[in-house]
């Protein structure tokens, strides 16, 4: 995953149980209620798009996460975060508020990689705002900058929290991702379609498959993403003409397609596996095949011969006649 997308995914990970990353926000009671949520600022002069929004209904706190892909703080954006109206945040996220008290609040938090935390903190200081910053590396995450207003949250970030590696890849690509970032996703989408014995796949079908989080994006971004998927499909087909043929848009065809040259599902078991393996090999040309563990096959031959030379098989046959468990094989 591009480093640029790590902070957004880190925030999401902290809200979700089930993964290897700690669900620190979820433990405190925060629930992820929206991603890329546009919210008008208090004076109505503009808006801010909250990268990731979590809500804790017991204390009526909206935790507005700004995921910083690099080290720069846009001062104007930071000030708009400070001016957000909690009521507008509720309208934008459609979250249900179940308690009248305490009063609704918005707590902005910046999320960044550990290497950028000093510059992010400095940028926030220059903007004249006072936000907590959650920074993370491949081994730990911690709260820096100002303390959280929610005392339970502050307690949860009382010290470094270990993590096992990078955060999960919920949002693996977006419209700003480099073209090449789409190839793995589109290739897998093509193979999924191939495994259903489809003769052809349209770009819109591939885009739905390759970008499961497509709903996250607005119309303009979706068009950009569809174009990137199309470009990727063309690249993949050109690199692997034995498997795929790219068909561009024409006067009679409103969207590009990919035709499948070989149909693995029509082959016998071995042939089918070989076709799928060939598609994988075409994706990494020049990589030598590592078919076996050195010395293992030779050793297996010794064991096979030893088995053949032993008398155990007769006993096994006798046992098969008398025990039902052998029939379970």
């Amino acid at each position: 995953m591009e480093h640029r997308l790590l902070p957004l995914n880190a925030f999401i990970a902290l809200c979700q149980y089930g993964d290897l990353w700690p669900a620190t926000l979820a433990d405190v009671g925060y629930r992820l209620v929206g991603l890329e949520v546009p919210v008008p600022v208090r004076d109505g002069t503009g808006s801010v798009v909250i990268d990731a929004l979590a809500f804790r209904e017991e204390v009526n706190v909206n935790l507005a996460g700004e995921a910083k892909s690099g080290a720069n703080v846009h001062e104007d954006q930071a000030r708009r975060y400070a001016e957000m109206d909690p009521q507008n945040v509720v309208y934008a996220s459609s979250v249900d508020v179940v308690m009248e008290e305490p009063a609704l609040t918005v707590e902005p938090v910046y999320v960044c990689q550990a290497e950028y935390v000093d510059r992010i903190s400095l940028g926030l200081e220059r903007a004249g705002v006072d936000f907590p910053v959650v920074s993370f590396s491949d081994s730990e995450l911690r709260r820096e900058g100002s303390p959280f207003g929610d005392s339970d949250l502050e307690a949860a970030f009382g010290g470094p929290i270990p993590v096992p590696g990078p955060p999960p890849r919920y949002v693996a690509v977006d419209e700003e991702s480099a073209d090449s970032e789409f190839d793995d996703h589109v290739r897998a989408a093509l193979v999924a379609e191939l495994s259903h014995a489809k003769p052809v796949a349209t770009i819109s079908v591939l885009a739905e498959r390759a970008i499961p989080h497509l709903a996250l994006f607005g119309q303009r971004a979706r068009k950009q993403l569809a174009r990137k998927v199309e470009d990727s499909a063309r690249r993949i087909a050109e690199a692997d003409p034995d498997s795929f043929v790219f068909g561009p848009r024409t006067g009679t065809r409103s969207e590009a397609i990919v035709e499948f040259v070989r149909q693995p599902e029509e082959a016998d078991r071995r042939g089918r596996t070989q076709i799928y393996q060939a598609v994988a090999r075409a994706a990494r040309p020049g990589r030598p095949r590592r078919a076996e563990i050195p010395g293992q096959t030779a050793f297996d031959h010794v064991l096979d011969e030893l088995e053949a030379a032993s008398d155990d098989t007769v006993e096994e046959e006798l046992q098969r006649e008398t025990t039902p468990e052998e029939d379970a094989r």
């Binding site: 979700q16 993964d19 991603l35 999924a192 607005g218 393996q277 994988a280 050195p294 029939d327 379970a328």
Partner: protein, 360 residues
């Protein structure tokens, strides 16, 4: 046309040797009789008075194979037969491999151990086959133990306590049980949900299967609750539900390249297609396809963990198959990061391992 009474009678009379029941996960879409005709081309499919029962008669390599199919347990259908196990298995294997809407049950090791409340296997086979995922210099690359007797499980546990728990993976078990109400039953089960039984109570056999299916169903359905779903918000943005599923190994992956090559080779038993992308010396990302069901599945692999993402259209049995095969081929002592899923996998609360054994 078979009735449930006939099923009971034939089970007890057992003219063709032990009774076999293969449980398959079936994604029913349409009329069940039509589906069975598609699954078994050329077979004679007959519906019974009981709307959940079907008779299927087919021929495999000049051998007649017939099943009584009971779909009363939604999604997990029982294919009963008194014919020989081998041709019946072949017929079903061919069907499962050729279709996207059928799969075996993939029973985790602990599900096999806990077949019936208060009983312990009197015969078991633990078969750990790490040859494809572990290098040759690994302490234990393969471990196969077959035991018969009241202390069979004790001995396996003993091996585990000496530091080899990761090399224990239950492959099949058999019980000899008596129940004052239900009767007597000898029951053998393997990790792909194939049951072989003999006894004086078909109800007992069915109840045992029902319990196994219920535990497996819970695991699969909990996994499906973690499927990632994205719903657009009215004014822009989206809401996400679901989560990645973390698998923790009790051992480090000693050779990541070997591990990835085998896991994503498109071959049985994993049948995962993918092109791993190394992101550091000990982590990789893979956009994969589960060829069993033809759906995309995303995986991240770290030094001692794997992270799995299921997407819309995906199925919980993708996780079950992966986890069970990893138990069998890499780490019999793996666990899941999600406490609820882990409990459904290991049938024990987090921090506990297995059920307490009563004092002799």
């Amino acid at each position: 046309m078979t009735t449930r009474q006939e099923l009971r009678d034939r089970f007890v009379e057992s003219p063709g040797g032990p009774w076999k029941t293969f449980v398959l996960e079936v994604h029913e879409n349409g009329e069940p009789g039509t589906l069975l005709s598609e699954i078994f081309p050329g077979a004679d499919v007959t519906s019974a008075r009981d709307v959940f029962l079907y008779d299927v008669a087919t021929v495999r390599d000049d051998t007649d194979v017939s099943f009584i199919v009971d779909r009363l347990s939604h999604r997990f259908w029982s294919f009963h037969t008194q014919d020989s196990a081998e041709p019946a298995r072949r017929v079903l294997k061919e069907a499962v491999e050729g279709r996207r809407d059928l799969d075996w049950m993939w029973l985790p090791s602990q599900h096999l151990r806990d077949l019936w409340p208060g009983t312990f296997p009197t015969w078991l086979k633990s078969a750990f086959r790490g040859r494809r995922l572990l290098p040759e210099n690994e302490r234990i690359q393969e471990l196969e133990v077959q035991l018969r007797g009241g202390a069979a499980e004790d001995l396996v546990d003993l091996i585990g306590r000496f530091g080899y728990r990761g090399s224990i993976s239950f492959d099949r078990v058999a019980l000899n049980i008596e129940d004052p109400r239900l009767g007597d039953l000898q029951e053998g089960v393997n990790r792909q949900g194939r049951f072989v039984a003999r006894g004086n109570s078909f109800e007992f056999h069915q109840q045992l299967i029902r319990g196994v299916v219920a535990r497996y169903r819970r695991f699969v359905e909990l996994a499906e609750q973690r499927i990632l779903r994205w719903t657009p918000l009215e004014e822009g943005g989206a809401r996400m539900q679901g989560s990645a599923i973390g698998i923790r190994f009790s051992r480090q992956i000693p050779d990541l390249e070997l591990f990835l090559d085998e896991l994503f080779s498109s071959r049985e038993p994993f049948r995962l297609w993918g092109v791993p992308r190394m992101t550091s010396a000990d982590t990789a990302e893979v956009e994969a396809v589960d060829l069993h069901v033809g759906e995309q599945i995303r995986l991240d692999v770290g030094p001692d963990w794997v992270r799995v993402y299921l997407f819309k259209g995906g199925c919980g049995n993708s996780l079950a198959r992966l986890v069970v095969n990893l138990q069998h081929h890499f780490d019999g002592d793996l666990s899941l990061a999600d406490p609820e899923l882990n409990e459904a996998l290991r049938l024990a609360p987090e921090g506990q391992d297995g059920r307490p054994r009563p004092e002799p």
